[in-house]
């Protein structure tokens, strides 16, 4: 009787552990994009920008912070970030896009001579700009196959023709899973 109960408990504990690990791997911090926009004080302009941004593919939700001039975008799970679409939407809304900062989860890998962040769950990646933060991640033991959440500034330069996301990311902050 006790052995049977122990067995049931073990099975239950194993299932719970699997669920927890699954949730841990598939959820966590969602992909977010912050766009700095000048002149967002008027609600007609702000909601015009909201309207344009919501039509960009992958945009699940968005919050406009009129006081700081920030558009905070939540990207739908499993969808890539359409940086060019976001830039176009901002321009169509009558604004000039300034800094675009993304917070994204993935694995650091080397492809040819470049370091990239391969984004979790989707066939997309960002080329990473060589800086101290990137070196810190690479040299960290946790980076060996580990998942890292990085916050980085999207660079103006684009590198095309390598089958990767053409946008370059400069890491400003990171956190290991």
């Amino acid at each position: 009787m006790i052995i049977q109960l122990k067995k049931k408990f073990l099975i239950l504990a194993t299932i719970t552990l699997i669920i927890v690990v699954f949730i841990r791997l598939t959820s966590g911090e969602p992909t977010r994009v912050q766009v700095k926009v000048d002149g967002l004080s008027c609600p007609f302009c702000a909601y015009n920008l909201e309207k344009k941004l919501k039509r960009v593919g992958g945009v699940e939700d968005l919050k406009l912070r009129i006081d700081t001039g920030l558009a905070e975008i939540k990207i739908e799970e499993g969808k890539s970030i359409d940086i060019d679409g976001i830039k176009k939407a901002v321009k169509d809304g009558g604004f000039t896009p300034r800094d675009i900062v993304v917070t994204i989860k993935g694995k650091i890998e080397q492809v040819d001579s470049r370091m990239i962040l391969r984004i979790d769950n989707i066939a997309d990646s960002f080329i990473l700009k060589d800086n101290k933060m990137l070196k810190d991640i690479i040299t960290s033991e946790q980076a060996q196959g580990g998942i890292v959440t990085v916050t980085g500034l999207v660079q103006e330069e684009k590198i095309k023709g390598h089958g990767l996301h053409p946008h370059v990311l400069e890491i400003r902050d990171f956190k290991f899973e």
């Binding site: 004080s41 008027c42 609600p43 007609f44 909601y47 015009n48 909201e50 309207k51 009558g94």
Partner: protein
């Protein structure tokens, strides 16, 4: 004899003129004066219209319209509108332009229905009625849609010159003319129903985003959003008065007899003035 008569007439005229001037000085100049500010709880108003002794507000941040009494207490609320902007009343129904969906909803006796526009706008800033004619401020297309029955015409195009518009946000009819809040040209432009530009008002008064307007009692009221002011003009375009007390990013005006209600988007309140 003639000399005496002439002198008497001259003195009489002087006395008459003097008395008239005295009378004029004695009469106080009629002006709009601030009375009070109605604080609104969790309402971010953009548009306002007066109906009997109530006020309708479009609560853009919360996607709803609310009805408040003249003390500022909420009586009714209707949710589910996609960024409602400058609202209008027509035949007892409330017309609600949705900025995000580019449609106009009609709210009557608690029921909503869709108003059919014959032309496709891109972000409706405001609407107005003149009996069966509706005017629509088509924000992103920099134009006005004028619809009567089955026919719709448009006028205005993107620009800063006469007859051109730059992000219009509000519109009103008065005495057969169409008054447009030419928001980012920082002025009011008046058109006839054929779309001819008749008059430009306020372009030299330092307006910083003319977000809303109202025309009533032969006066034109303009909200200066960034300037935190309401400017009052006569219909010739002469500036009569500049109001600034308790105005915080105002966006619209409603007039109820000699009372003016100005909505403060940032302040989440309604400033009340009396004439």
């Amino acid at each position: 004899m003639n000399k005496i008569l002439f002198a008497a007439t001259f003195i009489g005229t002087l006395l008459f003129l003097g008395c008239s001037e005295y009378q004029k000085k004695k009469e106080p100049k009629k002006e709009w004066k601030f009375i009070k500010e109605l604080q609104l709880q969790d309402i971010s108003p953009i548009g306002i219209v007066a109906q009997n002794n109530f006020l309708w507000l479009s609560d853009v941040d919360n996607n709803r319209v609310v009805k408040i009494n003249i003390e500022g207490k909420m009586i009714e609320e209707y949710s589910g509108f996609e960024r409602p902007m400058h609202i209008a009343l027509n035949n007892g129904a409330l017309y609600i332009p949705e900025y995000t969906s580019d449609t106009i909803q009609i709210l009557k006796n608690g029921n909503t229905s869709a108003f059919k526009l014959k032309d496709q706008p891109d972000s409706i800033g405001g609407i107005a009625f003149d009996s069966s004619t509706i005017a629509v401020a088509d924000f992103n297309n920099h134009r006005i849609i004028l619809q009567q029955g089955e026919s719709a015409v448009t006028f205005g195009k993107e620009g800063h010159g006469e007859g051109e518009l730059y992000y219009p946000t509000d519109v009103a009819f008065f005495a057969g003319k169409i008054y447009v809040a030419d928001a980012y040209n920082n002025r009011i432009q008046v058109f006839d129903k054929q779309g001819n530009s008749l008059q430009i008002i306020g372009d030299k008064d330092g307006i910083n985003v003319a977000t809303g307007l109202e025309v009533a009692n032969n006066q034109l009221f303009v909200t200066d959003f960034e300037g935190n002011r309401v400017l009052v003009y006569d219909l010739e375009g002469n500036l009569l008065q500049t109001l600034s007390k308790n105005l915080h990013k105002p966006t619209d005006i409603a007039i109820m007899e000699n009372i003016m209600y100005a909505v403060n988007y940032e302040g989440q309140s309604v400033a009340v003035y009396q004439f």
